[in-house]
Amino acid sequence: MPVISPGFIGRFRLRVLDYWTKLLEMVDHTVFRDLANQLRMPEKFGKVKSRFLHQAQPDRVQESSPPIDMGVLNCRVQWTKLEEDNNVFDAFSLEICGLIHAPNDMCETTLQISILDVTDGAPDAKVVQSRLPQWSSQDGPDPSAFCYRARLGKLPHQVTTLSDWTSIAQIRFDWLLFPRKGKRQLQFNTSILPADSNQELAHAKCEFDCENPAFGYMNLQENIERTNILAVALAFAVSAADNKLYDCEVELIKNWARDNILENSASDKDELKLDKALEKTIVFFRGGNKLDTYNICDEIVGIAPVAQRYDILELCLYVAQSKGSVTAEELTFLKNMAEWLEVDTNRFRIMMEKVLPVDMHEVRDVEAILGITSDMSKERVRKHLNKEYGKWNSRVTNADPNIQTQADQMLNLIAEARSQYTAEAIVS
């Protein structure tokens, strides 16, 4: 996870509660829900999926054309292709020309390149970060900032003039982490330093525009925070799925929100704001209102990596678990949610097994519990159930008595399901 400056976090946190207000506006009107359901077409899912997974190569926006003054050092950037280990990568090619002053002849020099994102203007410039530790500015003010350093060689004379553009570095695009997605204006800062000191001999900067197809680190941080808000909304929606909001469920959600939305250094004022927002949400749900959970999940899929989606699902499972039993409505809700969050069916089933053992289910959806799908033939169901039986049979002697009980219940359930689903498919 990229490290961002504390100042940025502080600024961002002020927006958190605005999100909440917007969220509460998403009241589930029937028409809106119908529309959302209609949108649940494969094309829609495909589009959403590609939105997050899209790692397209950058578009060529502009090649630099810096003014050349041979009395100083100049630099320029061009797109290039780099071939490494049979793979081709997009890269920035840096060239310099002009004058370099050294303390003496045959001075050993080092090249240093850093990049700023100046899309929002120079005063609001943000560093471009490195995805690789070796190109991080370890001793600089921002340790995650990209800083390319390489030996440049000996300058033959005390005053050296490069009359032609000379290629000095190729920086792979995928090494870099930009602040934001989309069209970016980059400022490349090139310094030539003596090998034995940080006293700059020559410096040049140039700007270059490019398109960043992936989320930037600021987007990522915003996405994390936005996702956490949405997670709380989903957790409340699970709790309210059976039209009751139990205190234990509310308490669990509140604790999760405090742990994940507020930073350790949060002020009392921030805490109060969060508590107010939570109370408002509770009133909203206790009033029988619903959220459009499909659209919330859809938004999460667009901005959250799979790991965070697992966290959300886990939170919701624990909410369902907290009162000791899980209703049919809650189970259906969780199942839909897992599907909408594009969580693998088997992974969801394993999470369910751990958090919501079968004795907690008020109504047993055998197919969901055992992973039987409508496209399975009787023979496939039989083999699948045998595998499940073998798995749970090995857990019957677990040291934890709760797991022993769960395993026993699962064995009985599998045996029942087997006679129900594979009545005619006995081994011949």
Binding site: Y389, N393, V396
Partner: protein, 519 residues
């Protein structure tokens, strides 16, 4: 040389067999002249140091059920199970030791000192239960030279007394447990392929179903409960067992129920019984299929189905197997005694391997051509923290090093890497169980492995597990760069590092069982 014996420590009955002068196993009857001894204990009402084991215990429980114990094997290895008699909390190990003491004592009368023994256990018993069984033997005064899986013991006896070749499925449905084992037999050459088992499926579960029918019938007629006390329950449990036995021979079993609200005559048909036990039989059927799947064999690929255990006398068991395999199961050997007889053979083979010099020539020549290849009954692994490919996060996971059903002896290695720079130690855990989820496997033991200081992260640690034919596991954790090694022996006969409380408990167990006068 002392006698070599094999003991079938069963849930409902136990038996002891001795190797004769030419290496053939023989059952030794108990003091009552019976070849099978009920695995039951009754603590005398006047003096709890006097313990009745066997048939007398069965009869006494009708008078005072609180002082009687049955089916203790179901609780073997359960750290939370205690049976309080007067002021003493008896553990499953101690109670089992009392049964073993009775067997040892009765056999010694005619055959002299009984010392070296192999005790049989269900194939699916885990390390904890095996070790508990071994401890029970030790406390009873036996030198437990090994543990053998019940179906393996039965097949061993079967293969040495009958002409067998091909793939054999041993269907062992006993009083309290069920095992299915698939093996390749070629004369006296036996290779185990795999085993599956159910710890809570056996004759007592079938008896329970009959008891439920009786209770239901009584309630329907008198609107009253048939059973009002533990003694009533003990009595009707025995009646239910009797009905079950009758239904193995006849279509109907008739009984009189003498309940508190009045007496009634009941008739239980085989059909009623079969319907009641059908869900239990389904469980057995699935395990047969799971074992076949594990072995990669279709039912048609099984040459013989061998029945072991008293519950295989139930006609439905045989019918179901016939339907699956298309052939009649074999019941040629005595289903109640073959495990004890095979255990004695296994004891002989163990002695022949460990101490060939002291084995009498007759026994040696009788056992010499028997060749048994057993397998690891469970998977063994260690806990590690790899990065999940999907989420990119580090996850705590069980990694299997020795796979279940690997032929013995076996050895396997895997290399893991330290996590942190300057990591001074690594916690190594030995696990038993299937799958990668740490919650669903058992931790056998955990040790601290100290590492050299000031090193970068990702230093390799090679983990090697080996398992020998005597079911002794050796675990080696090696810091590859420094050559530093942590070695752990986890044999069933080795206690490893015993805590002070363990030592104290063992002393108490020895003293309690030693003090008890078993009759």
């Amino acid at each position: 040389m002392a006698n070599i014996v094999g003991i079938d420590l069963g849930t409902t009955f136990s038996a002891l067999s001795i190797l004769n002068a030419i290496g053939k196993p023989e059952i030794i009857p108990n003091a009552d002249g019976e070849r099978l001894t009920p695995s039951a204990i009754f603590f005398d009402e006047e003096n709890s140091d006097i313990v009745r084991a066997g048939i007398e215990a069965i009869n006494s429980r009708h008078l005072n059920a609180q002082r009687s114990v049955r089916w203790i094997k179901r609780h073997m290895g359960d750290p939370n199970y205690r049976r309080k008699i007067d002021s003493k909390d008896w553990t499953p190990v101690e109670l089992s030791a009392l049964i073993l003491k009775k067997l040892k004592q009765d056999s010694s009368v005619e055959h002299g000192d009984i010392c070296d023994a192999v005790i049989s256990v269900p194939a699916h018993f885990d390390e904890v239960r095996r070790k508990a069984t071994m401890e029970a033997g030790t406390i009873a005064g036996l030198n437990v030279i090994g543990i053998v899986n019940e179906p393996v013991a039965a097949a061993l006896y079967y293969a040495t007394t009958r002409q067998v070749s091909g793939k054999v499925l041993v269907y062992d449905l006993g009083g309290g447990t069920f095992d299915v084992t698939i093996m390749e037999v070629n004369g006296h050459d036996m290779k185990i392929i795999c085993s599956q088992g159910d710890h809570a499926l056996g004759g007592i579960d079938f008896d329970q179903k009959i008891l439920e029918i009786l209770e239901q019938m009584y309630k329907e007629k008198f609107k009253a409960e048939l059973i009002g006390s533990d003694e009533d329950r003990a009595k009707y449990e025995d009646e239910a067992e009797d009905i079950k036995r009758t239904l193995s021979r006849r279509d109907v079993a008739k009984k009189m129920l003498y309940g508190p609200a009045g007496n009634m005559r009941v008739e239980i048909t085989r059909e009623m019984f079969e319907k009641a036990i059908s869900p239990l039989m389904d469980r057995a059927d699935i395990l047969v299929e799971v074992a076949l799947g594990e072995a990669g064999i279709e039912p048609a690929g099984i040459d013989k189905v061998l029945l072991v255990g008293g519950s295989t006398r139930i006609p439905l068991v045989q019918q179901r197997l016939e339907k699956v395999f298309g052939k009649t199961p074999q019941t040629a050997v005595n289903v109640d005694e073959c495990v004890a007889l095979g255990a004695a053979l296994h004891a002989g083979l163990t002695m022949l391997r460990e101490k060939p010099d002291i084995m009498p020539a007759g026994i040696s020549s009788g056992l010499m051509d028997i060749n048994l290849t057993d397998v690891c009954n469970h998977s063994y692994g260690t806990i590690c923290a790899p990065i999940d490919k999907e989420t990119g996060r580090r996850v705590i996971q069980n990694r299997i090093i020795l796979n279940k059903n690997t032929p013995l002896p076996c050895e396997a290695s895997q290399t893991f890497y330290t996590l942190k720079e300057g990591q001074a130690e690594v916690e190594v855990t030995i696990t038993q169980g299937e799958g990668s989820d740490v919650e669903f496997v058992n931790n056998i033991s955990t040790y601290k492995f100290e590492l050299p200081p000031d090193r970068p992260a990702e230093c390799p640690i090679k983990v090697t597990y080996s398992y020998d034919v005597n079911q002794r596991m050796h675990c080696k954790f090696e810091d590859v760069e420094s050559g530093r090694v942590l070695e752990i022996d986890l044999g069933l006969d080795q206690d490893g590092k015993m805590s002070e409380s363990d030592i104290k408990e063992k002393k108490q167990q020895l003293s309690a069982v030693g003090r008890s006068k078993v009759e």
